[in-house]
C-alpha cells in the first residue's frame, strides 16, 4: 500500500511537473527541451537568438525606411515588398500573388529594367513605374542579385527611391535650359563668353555665323588673336583686362563698340554689352557679353546724319523754323530761324512754353493754345495760323504744323514741328483777291457804262437838236442847257469809271496835258476830298504830248490818290507841268533819256516813304496801305502806262517830308500838234455830199446819229446790224464813202464787218463808235495809227468833227 501510495504521489508530482512544463512552454519561459542524448531542435542557440533579433531589427528598418524594398525571385516574381514600396505603387503590401515589377512598367521601361538586372556591375537606374491608376512614379532603383550557395541566381533585392519631384524639377530645368540654349542659338545677337585669358569658352550660332567660323575654330581659341583686327588687338586686350580686374564695378566698358574681323577678313562693327562672369564663390572667371552687329546701323546712322544735315540746310535756307518740345522736361527748343520768326536774336529764347505763349498775338493766343492743348491730348497732327508780336511791336503771321507723340498711357512725350513766316504771302493773297474783286467790279462797271453811254448819247443829241430850234423860248433853251450840262457831267463820270476799270479803248493822240488836267480838276477834287487842297502850277505854251487821254487821266488820278493817302490829316497836293530838255546824264539808273519832254510833277507834303518802300514802289501788288484800301496796282499801272507812252516816272521822297512823283512824257512832233484842236462849236455850211453807211444796233443812238449826219449834209444809209450792212454794201458799194459802225454789236461786230467790207473796197474809210471795248482788247491794244474811235457819249459837234476828220484824211492802208 505504501509503495502504491508512494507511486501515486510520484505520478501526481510528475503530472504537476508536466503541467508546469507545458505552462512554461506556453508562456514562453522555456529555452530548450532536453532529452537524454542532446538538446532537442527546440533549443535556440545564442547565435540563433542574435539572428532572430537581427532579423527583427532589419524588419523594423525595412518597414520604416523611406526607401522601397522589393525582392524578386529568379522568375522576377515578387517575394517581398515593404510598406513604402507598396505606398509608392499604391498597391497591397504583399502585392497580388505572382505579381512582378514588370507589371508596373511600360515597354520602354521594361527593356531598361531587364537590361539592368542582367548587369553585374551594380549601379543605379532611373525607372518610371506606372501605377494601376495610370499615374507615374519616377524612381531611382539600385538592385543587387542574390545567389544561392552554389552560385545560382535566386533573385534580386532592389532598393527603390521615389524621385518623382526631383525628376519633375529636372525636366523643368532641362526644358528651361533647352529653351535658353535655343534662344542663344536663334537670337540675332552674338553671345560670347571668354575666360580670364581671353579664350573663348562659349559662342552661339549667330556669333559663329557673323565670324564665318565653326565652333572648333573658335572655342578654346584666343578671342583677340582670332577675331579682332590685328591693329586693335593690344589696346582691346588692355581694356579687357582692366574691365576684368575692376570686376566691372566702375560701369566703364559695360557697353563698348569695336571692330571684329571675320574669317574672310571683313571687318564689322559690333556693339557689346559686357557682364562679369563669376563662379559659385564669387571669384571672377571671365566675361560674358552680347554683341549686336551695328555695321549696317552705323552706315544708316551716317546716312541719317547726312540726310539730317541736308534737311536742316534746306529748312534753314527756306526760312523754315523748327521747334521741339520735350514734355518730360518741359523744355521747348527753337531753331535760330524760329527765333527770328518771333523777332528774337538767335539763342535768346528761354525754352519755356510760357514765353512762347506770351509772344502770340493776344487776339490769336486763346485759339492757338487750345489747338496745341488738344493735340497734346489726342496725339494728332495740328496746324496753327496765328500772328506774333515781336518785342519791337512788329506783327507777323506764322503758319506752323506739328505732331505730338504720346506714351502708352496717353501722356505727351515729345512734340516736333516747323513754322513758316507767311506774312508776305498772306498780304499777297489778300491783294490778289482784291485785284480779282477790282476786275469783277471793272467788268460790271464797264457793262453799265456801255448802256449808259448809249443813253447819254441819245439824251445829249436830241436835246441839242431841240436847242437849235429857233422857235423855243429863251427860258426853255436855258433849261435844256442845264440838261445838257448834267448829261455831260454824267458822261465824265462814266468815262472815269471806264478808266478806273481799265476797259477803255486806247488811242494815242497828241494832247494838251494842261487841258487834260484842268478838265479833270473837278473830278479830282471830289476824288481826294475837301481836307486836301489841290494847287495847279501849269506852264503856259506847253508842247503837246503824244499819249492816250484815258491812260494819262488814269496816271494823274493814281498819283493824286497816292498823294491823298499819304496825307491822312490833310495837306496840299501840287500839280505842276513844265517843258524840259533832258540830257543823257540826268539819271544814272536809266540808260537813255535824252530829248524833249513834258514834265508832270505831283507833289504832296505827306508822310513820305522809306527807302524800302521807294525801292518797291512800282512793284505790282506792293502796298503800304491797309488791306482793303489799295490794290497795290495804282502806281504799277501808272508806271506801265508811262513806259508804254515812251516816258519815264520817278519818285523822290523822304520820311516826314512828303513825296514828289515826276512823269516825263515825250513831246509830240509839230505835225501832229494840230490834231488837238478844239472843234468849232458852230456848224459849218453844208457843203458835203458824201454817203455814210451807219451801223448801230441801239435805235436811239442810230436815230440821233442819222439825223445829225443828215443835218450836216451827208447821205446816210442805215443798218441795224452787220448782216444788213453787208447786204446794203453789196447793193451800193460804189457810193459809200465811210462806214460809221458801233464796235460791239450782236452777231457781227464792227471790226469784223469793217475787215470784210474792206476786202471789197480797200480805200473804204472806217470810224468806230464805242461805249467800251471787248475784254480781249482792253488795256493791250493801242489803236494808234489804226481806225479812229468815237467815244460815246458824243455830241453832234463831236460827230461832225470826227467824221470830217476821217473823210479828209488820206485813205487808210
Amino acid at each position: 500500500m505504501n509503495a502504491l501510495a508512494a507511486r501515486a504521489a510520484d505520478l501526481a508530482q510528475r503530472l504537476a511537473e508536466a503541467e508546469a512544463t507545458i505552462e512554461a512552454l506556453l508562456s514562453g519561459q522555456v529555452d530548450a527541451v532536453a532529452d537524454a542524448r542532446s538538446l532537442t531542435p527546440l533549443l535556440l542557440s545564442k547565435a540563433q537568438e542574435a539572428l532572430r533579433q537581427s532579423e527583427e531589427r532589419y524588419r523594423r528598418i525595412v518597414e520604416t525606411t523611406r526607401e522601397g524594398v522589393w525582392m524578386i525571385d529568379a522568375a522576377h516574381q515578387t517575394t517581398f515588398m515593404n510598406r513604402r514600396m507598396a505606398e509608392m505603387l499604391r498597391c497591397e503590401p504583399i502585392g497580388p500573388p505572382g505579381s512582378s515589377p514588370f507589371d508596373y512598367l511600360d515597354e520602354a521601361e521594361s527593356r531598361k529594367l531587364a537590361a539592368y538586372l542582367q548587369r553585374t556591375d551594380g549601379g543605379q537606374i532611373d525607372i518610371r513605374y506606372t501605377r494601376t491608376d495610370g499615374t507615374s512614379v519616377w524612381t531611382l532603383v539600385e538592385a543587387a542579385p542574390i545567389f544561392d550557395g552554389d552560385g545560382r541566381y535566386e533573385g534580386s533585392l532592389a532598393m527603390v527611391v521615389d524621385i518623382t519631384e526631383r525628376k519633375q524639377a529636372e525636366i523643368a530645368l532641362r526644358y528651361e535650359r533647352d529653351r535658353a540654349e535655343s534662344y542663344l542659338d536663334t537670337a540675332e545677337v552674338i553671345m560670347l563668353a571668354i575666360d580670364l585669358n581671353g579664350h573663348i569658352t562659349m559662342i552661339n550660332r549667330y556669333g559663329r555665323a557673323v565670324l564665318g567660323r565653326t565652333s572648333d575654330e573658335l572655342v578654346g581659341r584666343d578671342w583677340f588673336g582670332t577675331c579682332v583686327p590685328a591693329r586693335l588687338q593690344e589696346s582691346l586686350k588692355l581694356r579687357f583686362r582692366a574691365f576684368v580686374l575692376g570686376g566691372g564695378a566702375t560701369g566703364k566698358d559695360v557697353i563698348v563698340e569695336n571692330l571684329i574681323v571675320t574669317k574672310s577678313g571683313e571687318e564689322r562693327l559690333v556693339e557689346w554689352r559686357n557682364s562679369i562672369l563669376r563662379d559659385d564663390t564669387g571669384a571672377v572667371i571671365g566675361v560674358i557679353t552680347s554683341g549686336t552687329d551695328t555695321t549696317e546701323r552705323a552706315q544708316v546712322v551716317a546716312k541719317l546724319v547726312t540726310a539730317e544735315e541736308r534737311m536742316r540746310f534746306v529748312l534753314e535756307s527756306a526760312e523754315v523754323g523748327i521747334w521741339d518740345m520735350d514734355y518730360t522736361t518741359g523744355v521747348l527748343s527753337w531753331s535760330a530761324t524760329l527765333e527770328r520768326q518771333y523777332g528774337l536774336p538767335p539763342g535768346t529764347f528761354d525754352g519755356t512754353f510760357k514765353s512762347f505763349a506770351a509772344l502770340i498775338h493776344p487776339d490769336d493766343r486763346e485759339a492757338a493754345l487750345a489747338e496745341v492743348t488738344s493735340a497734346t491730348e489726342t496725339g494728332t497732327d495740328f496746324s496753327l495760323h496765328h500772328r506774333v508780336v515781336w518785342p519791337d511791336g512788329t506783327v507777323r503771321s506764322l503758319d506752323s504744323v506739328g505732331h505730338v507723340h504720346l506714351d502708352q498711357d496717353g501722356k505727351p512725350l515729345r512734340g516736333v514741328g516747323i513754322s513758316l513766316d507767311v506774312t508776305d504771302r498772306r498780304l499777297l493773297e489778300k491783294r490778289y483777291q482784291m485785284a480779282n474783286k477790282m476786275d469783277a467790279i471793272g467788268q460790271l462797271a464797264s457793262g453799265v457804262a456801255h448802256d449808259f453811254n448809249n443813253l447819254l448819247t441819245v439824251i445829249l443829241g436830241f436835246t441839242e437838236f431841240v436847242t437849235e430850234d429857233p422857235k423855243i423860248s429863251d427860258r426853255n433853251r436855258r433849261d435844256l442847257g442845264e440838261t445838257i450840262k448834267a448829261a455831260r457831267r454824267a458822261s465824265v463820270l462814266t468815262r472815269q469809271l471806264l478808266a478806273f476799270s481799265r476797259q477803255q479803248v486806247l488811242e494815242t493822240v497828241p494832247l494838251d496835258l494842261n487841258k487834260l488836267i484842268t478838265d479833270m480838276t473837278g473830278m479830282l477834287r471830289r476824288l481826294i476830298g475837301e481836307h486836301i487842297e489841290v494847287a495847279l502850277a501849269l506852264a503856259p505854251r506847253l508842247p503837246l504830248t503824244l499819249s492816250d487821254r484815258g491812260q494819262l487821266e488814269q496816271v494823274v488820278m493814281n498819283l493824286l490818290v497816292n498823294a491823298r493817302d499819304a496825307m491822312p490829316a490833310g495837306g496840299t497836293v501840287t500839280i505842276r507841268t513844265t517843258h524840259v530838255d533832258l540830257d543823257d546824264s540826268t539819271r544814272d539808273d536809266v540808260p537813255s533819256i535824252g530829248g524833249h519832254y513834258v514834265l508832270l510833277a505831283v507833289n504832296d507834303n505827306g508822310i513820305g516813304m522809306s527807302a524800302e518802300t521807294q525801292r518797291r514802289l512800282f512793284e505790282p501788288f506792293y502796298t503800304t496801305k491797309e488791306v482793303g484800301h489799295g490794290t497795290g496796282l495804282g502806281l504799277a499801272t501808272a508806271y506801265g502806262i508811262v513806259k508804254q507812252s515812251k516816258g519815264y516816272i520817278f519818285a523822290d521822297s523822304q520820311l516826314g517830308q512828303g513825296t514828289t512823283f515826276r512823269v516825263y512824257l515825250p513831246c509830240a512832233d509839230d505835225a501832229a500838234s494840230i490834231a488837238e484842236v478844239e472843234a468849232s462849236a458852230t456848224r459849218p455850211a453844208v457843203t458835203v455830199s458824201e454817203t455814210v453807211l451807219l451801223v448801230e444796233d441801239e435805235a436811239g443812238v442810230r436815230e440821233f446819229t442819222r439825223r445829225s449826219l443828215e443835218r450836216d449834209g451827208y447821205r446816210v444809209l442805215v443798218a441795224e446790224n452787220g448782216n444788213e450792212a453787208d447786204r446794203l454794201f453789196a447793193e451800193r458799194a460804189a457810193e459809200i464813202d465811210l462806214i460809221l459802225t458801233d464796235i460791239v454789236m450782236p452777231g457781227c461786230g464792227g471790226p469784223e464787218l469793217a475787215a470784210r467790207l474792206r476786202l471789197r473796197r480797200r480805200d473804204l474809210r472806217v470810224l468806230y463808235m464805242s461805249g467800251y471795248t471787248e475784254q480781249s482788247s482792253a488795256n493791250v491794244i493801242v489803236l494808234s495809227g489804226g481806225p479812229p474811235v468815237l467815244q460815246k457819249p458824243f455830241t453832234a459837234a463831236d460827230l461832225r468833227r470826227r467824221v470830217r476828220d476821217v473823210l479828209d484824211r488820206a485813205p487808210q492802208p
Binding site: 508546469a20 522555456v30 530548450a32 532536453a34 538538446l39 535556440l44
Partner: protein, 99 residues
C-alpha cells in the same frame, strides 16, 4: 519582510538550476534564483548546470526543458520550470512561506 529560516544547520537549502547557455529565459532564471537566495537565505547552495555544455546531466534529474530549478533539500524535492520571475510562487515552491 520574510522570516529567516530558524535552524541554519538542519535546514540548509540546496538548489540545482538547469539552463541552456545564455538563452534569455535561462539567464533570467539564473538572475532571479540568485537574487532570491541572497535575499531570503543566509545559508544556501545553488548549483547552475548548463545543459549546452553538459547535456548528459539532463538525464540525472529527468530534466525535459530549461530552465528548470530543482530543490534538493530540505525535502521534499520540488521542481520549478520557467524564468522564476514569479517570486511568490518561487518561495512557495521552496517551502518558505511568508509569516
Amino acid at each position: 519582510v520574510t522570516k529567516p529560516l530558524a535552524d541554519e544547520g538542519e535546514a540548509r537549502l540546496r538548489l540545482r538550476l538547469y539552463v541552456a547557455g545564455s538563452a534569455p529565459n535561462s539567464l533570467r532564471a539564473i538572475a532571479n534564483a540568485r537574487a532570491m537566495c541572497q535575499q531570503h537565505f543566509s545559508c544556501h547552495d545553488l548549483e547552475v548546470i548548463d545543459l549546452m555544455a553538459q547535456p548528459e546531466r539532463a538525464a540525472g534529474d529527468r530534466i525535459i526543458v530549461t530552465p528548470t530549478l530543482v530543490k534538493l533539500s530540505p525535502a521534499p524535492e520540488q521542481r520549478l520550470i520557467g524564468d522564476l520571475s514569479d517570486a511568490d510562487q518561487l518561495l512557495a515552491a521552496l517551502g518558505v512561506g511568508r509569516e
